[in-house]
């Protein structure tokens, strides 16, 4: 078993699935010869050739459209969009076709596509290179939105995403691409989609988060433990559909909920989670729900980026507020 980073786990998952399923293709700008801007597809073109690892033109709408045509014909394309802020030209294909072909053709045409893209900031790059606009995609019926937060989950969830018969937007938390190494057994074992992963059990407050914010949330839970407060940390992992059951069960035990996400607050996924708990778990709550989020502004330049994203201090303060 090898100790790998999150981005290396992504490469391993590609390699496994391409080795075992000739229908799996990889495409995107710079994914072949260069191995991707973050090296997530490194070595794949050398191994599988340029017809299976396709260096496309810089044209995200074309990349997504190719995926629709390939997938409707039985292939399983895995596309990389270089940064999440570059994904908007692909929106037409994702919204109007990729996620609707199944519905309008009553299942005769389907789109088993994975679109991978880096998610979030923290790499000293503003705006387009640091976006976390998952809520825009969670609004689209027919789409799954997935975000791993560790090498093992990146490996297992990407395999599951590729094998999923519906399209999946696979968000890769860029800041923790190389944050930590973890032992990952390269055995082709997928992890379940559509469920949360409990990263730390606790009794006083539930923290729900995903992506790179799991790191801050776990650090906050450590700090809270030192202060005598027991926080449960849940990694949402599949952002859409939301595994409401795990969240509601946790809130029923802790009575408190803090939602942490990097994306701007207004109509963020946190609002949906809060609504679910308000609809189905209101009487379990001992205190108002707190959201710790990015601000409703543009992701700023490097000097300010750490003030934009939720910090350990802000998460600790929010949990303490639910207990006050």
């Amino acid at each position: 078993m090898a100790k790998v980073t999150l981005v290396e786990a992504i490469t391993l998952a590609h390699n496994w699935e391409m080795s075992h399923d000739p229908d799996v293709l990889v495409l995107g700008q710079d994914v072949g010869r260069n191995g991707g801007v973050f090296r997530a597809t490194q070595g794949l073109q050398e191994k599988f050739g340029n017809q299976r690892v396709i260096d496309t033109p810089l044209a995200e709408g074309m990349i997504a459209g190719l995926c629709v045509g390939m997938a409707a014909q039985g292939l399983k394309p895995v596309a990389e969009i270089q940064f999440m802020g570059f994904i908007y030209p692909a929106m037409d294909q994702i919204v109007n076709h990729m996620t609707r072909l199944r519905n309008r053709t009553r299942g005769r045409l389907t789109c088993p596509v994975v679109i991978r893209t880096p998610h979030g900031g923290g790499i000293h790059s503003p705006e387009h290179h640091s976006e976390s606009v998952e809520s825009m995609f969670c609004h689209i019926p027919g789409l799954r939105v997935v975000c791993p937060s560790s090498p093992a989950r990146a490996y297992g969830l990407l395999l599951a995403a590729i094998r999923e018969p519906d399209p999946v937007l696979f968000l890769e938390p860029v800041r923790i691409y190389r944050y930590a190494r973890q032992e990952v057994e390269d055995n082709g074992q997928a992890l379940p989609l559509d469920v949360c992963y409990v990263l730390r059990e606790g009794t006083d407050c539930t923290i729900v988060t995903w992506g790179a914010m799991t790191v801050e949330s776990l650090k906050a839970a450590e700090e809270l433990a030192r202060q005598g407060i027991s926080a449960e940390v849940i990694d949402l992992a599949t952002i859409s559909p939301i595994d409401a059951e795990t969240i509601l069960d946790s809130v029923a035990r802790t009575g408190r909920l803090v939602i942490v996400h990097e994306a701007a607050r207004n109509v963020g996924v946190g609002a949906e989670i809060a609504a679910i708990v308000a609809e189905h778990g209101l009487y379990d709550l001992e205190a108002p729900i707190q959201r710790v989020t990015g601000y409703d502004t543009i992701v700023p330049l490097a000097r300010l980026e750490h003030d934009y994203a939720p910090s350990v201090a802000r998460i600790v303060a929010a949990v303490r507020a639910t207990l006050s």
Binding site: L25, V68, Q93, H97, R102, R104, T105, R108, L109, P141
Partner: protein, 334 residues
């Protein structure tokens, strides 16, 4: 523009098939229009009346297994691949006997078993999707060719250029067919396009031959299609073909087409593809009785389709919740 009508080197059976196809498209769409007037077709729809030679000519030149991608103006292309009139009219009427049992509607006709890989109502998108389908053929070493039909308005959107560029780079087996009916919905295409021929004049930008043909002449369309398909099957790459034509009706059912100058429609009706083709066949020595019999059989199919569609039940309301995800529904969101 090629004006030659050297039809005599096309087999008689093929010419009769192209007449049958054009006549059938005309009859089926006129019946669709009658059904609108009876308020039996809900929502919008877009007819190809006057443009039948393109659908018939290309479909006749295709082989089984070839793929068709079309726009929201897709009834003719769907029918031309052999889909029954009943299945198409049923879909327009949202009936349970429709192609997708009343879920896709006029703008999304799809019949996988006939190679009709969908109608796409967002301009330009399906050119990129067609490239993906053609990629699969090339990747798997198959000999099928993908044909992608679109209107003149499509030539000004980015996806048109992205798709042409990609198809040429990889020499994909795809044929792009621009049906230039002179109007981008309600606006003359010449008023909003930098070049005179919106598709043909762009071909050189992608290293492609400039091909501009009379889209109202099924023989010319057929022969052009044959050449493009032979080129694609030989691994020589895509073609871009601009077909000049004219729609006899408005853009959609709600459009009386009053923006067109007086006399323009009448002038184009002189080259009505169905009528001129019939006259040509007669001049070539085909007996009128042969054509009459073709027409009788087509009319019988359309009549029977109307009866069957009117008798077909509506699909259950529950279809709204089906086929959103692979599990068959969308339960977790509702």
């Amino acid at each position: 523009m090629s004006k030659k009508t050297a039809a005599i080197d096309i087999a008689e059976a093929t010419r009769l098939e192209m007449y049958r196809s054009q006549y059938r498209l005309r009859e089926a769409e006129q019946r669709a229009f009658d059904l609108f007037l009876q308020n039996l077709v809900k929502g919008t729809s877009h007819l190809s009346l006057g443009q039948e030679a393109i659908a018939a000519g290309f479909a006749t030149a295709m082989q089984p297994g070839d793929l068709t991608f079309c726009t929201y103006r897709g009834h003719a292309h769907t029918l031309a691949r052999g889909v029954s009139v009943e299945k198409v009219l049923g879909e327009l009427m949202s009936r349970d006997n429709g192609l997708m049992r009343g879920k896709g509607g006029s703008m999304h006709l799809t019949s996988v078993e006939h190679g009709v890989m969908g109608s796409y109502a967002i301009i330009g998108a399906h050119l990129c999707i067609a490239c993906g389908a053609a990629w699969r053929a090339q990747y798997q070493g198959k000999s099928d060719v993908t044909t992608c039909f679109f209107g003149d308005g499509t030539t000004n959107i980015g996806a048109f250029h992205e798709a042409l560029n990609f198809a040429v780079i990889w020499k994909l087996p795809v044929v792009f067919v621009c049906e230039n009916n002179l109007y981008m919905e309600y606006t003359p295409i010449k008023d909003v396009t930098a070049v005179a021929q919106p598709a043909a004049d762009r071909a050189s930008a992608y290293g492609l031959e400039r091909i501009l043909i009379d889209g109202n002449d099924a023989d010319v369309v057929y022969q052009t299609a044959q050449k493009a398909y032979a080129r694609a099957r030989a691994g020589e790459g895509p073609s871009l073909i601009e077909c000049l034509t004219y729609r006899h009706s408005g853009h959609s059912r709600a459009d009386p087409a009053k923006y067109r100058p007086k006399g323009e429609l009448e002038k184009w009706k002189e080259s009505d593809p169905v009528k001129t083709y019939r006259a040509r066949l007669l001049a070539q020595g085909i007996k009128a009785s042969v054509l009459d019999e073709i027409e009788r059989v087509v009319k019988a199919e359309v009549d029977a389709a109307e009866v069957a569609c009117k008798a077909s039940p509506l699909p259950p309301d529950e279809i709204m919740f089906t086929d959103v995800y692979a599990d068959g529904g969308c339960a977790w969101r509702n």
